[in-house]
Symmetry: D2
Subunit: 362 residues, 4 copies
């Protein structure tokens, strides 16, 4: 499946870590053509490579490899002045404080797929994880109608929520779900790099707290696991008890999850539900969708972030150590690994945009 002509996109917040990840993923994507890079006023007018280079010559590029050649010399525009003529879609990688104002400026004219939290908690805004709840896109028409927008806003969730819901969704649908206890060991890249986590705090240490993260996981997971009824999303009303910590791992969030299912399930049934999850979505053949939404590993000491985070370029969630949980009713527990800056950020957002293109919403 190829698209002709390609969808023309602007990347807003292009100089930050999340924005850079957009560029890396878009550089190789057959469906999108990047027609504008936008950032703050400070970067405006500079070629992209200069905008991320310090006066001392340090290139502030946080991704693997070099700055893609296609973007190095593109002049960056001030996001508030971004000209939307000829732009079919905006990818917003703006940090949340500035995100609301900017996205509110773009969405009346073009679709905005965002990694920011600005709109996540609004009733008429879906929070989509590809393969999990793409049907929630069904409320976008309502968002457009109620707000009088030609475009719309679709944020992706917090990166910790993403990994959690990918494995919960098949269990919730197959067995029902009563409650979830999760401890996360989150990677450094989730905190960005300016300033992000100080090396002095990370080395030989765990930081047992990430501000607002646990609340986000509760609210976002309930919304994503909710069902679409007409043009409403009815959240799944279950408790999600999260403990979120930061560990000295570069990429890849590890989650230790215990879930109380709606009915007894033996472990083979659980594994089968996980393995079979999302096959129909995979069959859509969208460019950024991996061949398997979930990989179940039977190796006793897996998943490990360094080994498993790049399975299918970070778009597959790897689940291992599936065991009974002796405390919860119909309790099952597992450890999963989700790539926080691939599926959990830019590439996940691109995957959402591909689905929206596929359905004709963009």
């Amino acid at each position: 499946m190829s698209r002709n002509p390609r969808c023309r996109v602007a990347v807003v917040g292009a100089t930050g870590v999340a924005g850079q990840q957009f560029l890396v993923s878009l550089d190789r994507n057959p469906w999108f053509e990047v027609v504008a890079l936008a950032a703050s006023e400070r970067s405006a007018g500079k070629p992209y490579i200069d905008a991320i280079t310090s006066p001392g010559g340090h290139v502030g590029w946080a991704c693997e490899g070099e700055v893609p050649k296609a973007f190095a010399q593109v002049p960056v525009v001030d996001a508030v002045d971004l000209n939307l003529d000829g732009v079919d879609l905006v990818f917003s990688a703006v940090e949340s404080d500035a995100a609301r104002a900017l996205e509110e400026k773009f969405a009346p004219r073009v679709p905005v797929v965002s990694t920011s939290s600005a709109f996540r908690y609004e009733d008429d805004v879906p929070v989509i994880v590809p393969g999990v709840n793409h049907d929630h896109a069904g409320i976008i028409k309502r968002q457009q109608k109620e707000r009088g927008w030609k475009g719309f806003v679709t944020p992706i969730p917090n990166c910790t929520t993403t990994g959690l819901v990918v494995a919960l969704a098949p269990l919730a649908r197959t067995f029902g779900l009563r409650g979830v206890i999760v401890t996360s060991m989150q990677a450094l890249s989730g905190a960005g790099r300016s300033p992000g986590v100080s090396a002095m705090d990370a080395l030989d240490n765990i930081i047992p707290y990430i501000p607002k993260e646990e609340e986000k996981v509760q609210i976002e997971a309930s919304k994503i696991l909710g069902r679409l009824e007409g043009d409403q999303i009815v959240p799944l009303d279950i408790p999600v008890s999260a403990t979120c910590t930061r560990v000295n791992v570069r990429d890849g969030h590890t989650l230790c999850v215990s879930a109380s299912l709606g009915r007894p399930a033996d472990l083979d049934e659980v594994k089968e539900a996980l393995r079979n999850f999302g096959l129909q979505f995979v069959d859509l053949g969208l460019p950024s969708t991996p061949p398997e939404i979930i990989r179940v590993t039977e190796q006793p000491d897996r998943p490990q972030p360094r080994i498993d985070r790049l399975v299918n370029d970070g778009m597959t969630t790897v689940v291992g150590r599936i065991r009974a949980d002796s405390v919860l009713e119909n309790g099952v527990k597992w450890i999963l690994l989700s790539h926080n800056t691939k599926l959990g950020a830019a590439k996940g957002a691109i995957s959402v945009a591909e689905y929206l293109l596929h359905t004709g919403l963009v």
Copy 2:
């Protein structure tokens, strides 16, 4: 309180990491006099410093600081030939495979306080955490009688269990306890150093599995939290669902715990129960007992292993982030930090021995 004459001890397994930690703690302990260092046949006859030095000159000393001067030149004896005349107590830091045979050899004659798991699961053997269940020492007489031993064996628990039960004990007693879900992020030193964890596996990674650890935590926690009835320990019959992982932290196990209490408790009550725990034991004034068994921290991002592991030389368990758990009935959750090679190993064992001396059992 001082003791005169001092208790004469042999350290068996003195060349390993756990044995080295015994030496560090005993070097400054007013109650014990080290009269013998024993290890495997390979070390026998060598001065201690030579026994831990490789042919290439590398000194295999895994503790902070240098080898205590008092021990550097002491000749190491073969553990199987250890002469127990003039030995009042044996500290056993032998790895578990060899531990059973050796401890069985010593215990008929002298008390053995051990960090190994060899005898932990036997009915007439207490597994003691100082300040938590020292009353379990009450079954030692039965052990001696039934086995016809003049000495006895008292192991300390697995280091992960130690931290867990310190915080659970006051809650179990004050509110009752129905079940516990715990995720551990364990330090490298818990795996020893020969070979221990490979640096290639530890860097930028989490190892989500520690063989047999989760089973140990279930069984040992139940036993330690059990009550002494006559000369029996009746385990606390509750589910303990553990997920044990290894992180790139040198010392200090971090545990994220969710507990279902026997009755509703508000968080202030929980904190008070934790803060007041073990005050009577502290008042005994034993040399290795810290001034507080538990420290409750109100800082939002604590405990952290690098910062908090050496509170009271690693003998205090630091508990923070005490919150309600929304999934469990009467649910409370917290994060705790326990020093796995201090309270959780040699110094914990020494603290047990001090209590046994105090009670006259040694």
Copy 3:
């Protein structure tokens, strides 16, 4: 350029870290067909995947990604029983103690390209770095003749030497070379994984000593930088003062080098000599040769191991911070990064084999 039929190779020491790296590189190589995997007696008879899997289920695979599918089920043979019929070349990744005996067994019949040091210091054995001194292959005929072998042995150097000589060679040829002072900060993977460096030693630390490494660098660099005269290699008789340390980096050796040149050279000349180096070798178009032997970076804070080690799949040496050295006569200094398990090990050896095929020596 393609070859038909492909060269049939056996990988000996296939289960170790170096052997695994051979498999990863050979899996994608168009010139070689792996026809046998050999290892120690312990692995013999098992499918490869089982041979590297522990009884507990841990898969001892040290490379990125999974075990290549092509090799997982191949039965491993005992290296001492390796049948050389139908084998055109042996890649030896055997650790040095066992390497001499095995290589001496194979070389009389087939060419052996080895990562071990067993034969490096013999007069009739070239130590080849592709693009640097491949002409040294000229002494192989003498080796065959003197030893009466149909095959031969060609080792690659120690991985620290490799990076050093790549940048020294063009300077030695262009300006002359009087002496070199080098401090290396070597990656963990250079020490292997069984046991390799303990995580307890690596974390928050530098190990300032690697046994025998500094001597190897002196001898091997002199030999590689030497010139072929007839069927003799005349070593470059200059002092190479090395200080070798181990740092907590997974892959990629960083070398800080100060060199005394034979004549004054300004920095632009030096950079030009580096940039132009090996272009003719590159033009041979061998499969594992990168498009640039040396990349000179002008960024002030580069090369960095995490960022630069995978330039051209680890086959390009990245050189930065080229400055005058104020102490040495005609002094120049730089920092370079060389991938120790790519160019410095298996893939470097494969590249040598490609050259030997190209020349008809294999």
Copy 4:
């Protein structure tokens, strides 16, 4: 030796990392009484503990242990309003941009001992390393006279210079010194924490560049190793070729040094010169002076930062791997470890102040 009454000091820049280190060291120092804590306007008026606590409750304390009780509730004053009545000495831990103006404000009235570089390169300002060149204090009178100051300024050097000169000084005096090549592997704490090094840059990496560091080492080392002639310091006019890198170590700078001596010296002579260095200074019995300025280790794999950095509370420089350097004339090389935030920062400055008190200059 005790002092009565104690010297009353103000710590300026008390809330930063260097300032915190002053507080830790001063808390246990018998000679100094902290009478004022000063910082920027933002902290003014707040109790110290509040000044370092974020709105979210995070306590920005970068040192081991807790904030010393003696200082937690002391109100911080705005440095520009610091009242010098009743202040005998100022310790300045101000970052260099602000340091010049502030120190210029204080020095006319009271002595200022500073960790900043603001005044290091002025002709009438000594840069003192205790035990190395304390005689340079002899130019302070000239500074006071020429500037018309009652007080004065004495900075300590850059932390990398400190370790370097401690080992160079005895060799320069005993054998003469012609030139030095040094590669540093510097700890994270040298870069501070706001922002300091990002954990994403530090993990699995080396940063091969520290802005301005190499120039500082050249200039400062020459000055410190210079000789006092009358009221002039005559720098030692030798080349110092430095390569400064940042590694993932928390504390302790490791330096690999090659030196060209003024005359041939065998390694035993070198070791003796190092071991005997500073004995007279030690005999002064100043509180922060360690019992040995230099410790020479014969262990093959030492010094290591994690093991050796706290020798004598970080005030002793540990030198190991002393070998001949084959490239330099009369070449000797070694590896040394120097604690960058103890001797190399606050505690080094306190040690200087103790010497100035001892001599009557304060």
